[in-house]
Symmetry: C2
Subunit: 170 residues, 2 copies
């Protein structure tokens, strides 16, 4: 109570009437859902001695083969020291290949190796399965709404990255 939107009513037509209670439930839904969202990959990663950071790197390298370290840093929002540690182990383990850039030799272009792609498939399949089940349970209309709200929730810069990934088939 004693808060911004509670009593403010909806004049016009689209202006939602949102109680703090509803907003809090939305916050809790995000929290619990995200746990489910990461649960399956987390189990797989643990078996191989990796963590979520490795998954994120693998995902986006797979999504944009040949991407540079700098671009990955931008997307993941971590420091290069942090990413480098993860990348180094993935390269040592033969899941990721780092090729020196052709046009700009300072850059490293990152690719998944054959076994990297296999691992990515394993992780992705688990996560996609949960996503598919949830989507089917909720229905087509709900899916559209889900995506709409998530996009609106992103910071502008992240939305830019998100849209850059759109329709860029792996």
């Amino acid at each position: 109570m004693a808060e911004g939107s509670g009593g403010s009513g909806h004049r016009g037509e689209d202006l939602l009437f949102l109680t703090d209670e509803q907003l809090r439930k939305g916050i809790e839904a995000m929290f619990f859902a995200y746990r489910g969202f990461t649960a399956d990959p987390d189990r797989i990663l643990e078996k191989h001695g990796y963590g979520r950071a490795h998954h994120r790197a693998i995902h986006f390298i797979n999504r944009s083969p040949g991407t540079t370290v700098n671009n990955l840093l931008d997307i993941l929002g971590v420091t290069k020291q942090s990413l480098n540690r993860v990348l180094r182990t993935l390269i040592e383990d033969g899941l990721v290949e780092s090729r020196i850039g052709i046009r700009d030799k300072r850059e490293r272009n990152l690719y998944l190796t054959e076994s990297g792609r296999t691992f990515e498939e394993e992780l992705s399949r688990a996560q996609r399965t949960r996503m598919r089940v949830a989507y089917r349970a909720a229905g087509a209309e709900a899916v559209a709404g889900f995506r709409k709200v998530l996009e609106a929730m992103m910071d502008a810069e992240m939305r830019r990255h998100f849209n850059n990934l759109k329709d860029s088939a792996p």
Copy 2:
């Protein structure tokens, strides 16, 4: 184009036709949106020298005043040792009060203090504001779908916790 639920056609009535590409976009949307979701509280927490773990504890203690450590452990899904460290600092700093249980003296009942509630309000307001903006941008129908998909994405046990929190006014 080729996005969400719109283009891909649905045979039958409920059985969604979902490409891997659509599912991957959903996964990425969750990733980027969650970053936005936590960004505002994270900034506030940092100023006070706390982390996300403190926020979670504060949130659920506020939501269920008098809750026990064990119940909190169940909801947060961490070890009691991990929660205890967080709880200890919050108690030392006078944001949380821990009262020995009446019926069972092994239990500790947790409450926010006055300043604890003030801090919770600060964190919550930031997060609710982002939520409200996203909800308004997406519209009422989208919000319903958003909630539907998130609930379907939770593990069964988390859904139980989520529903237990329903309509239990703070």
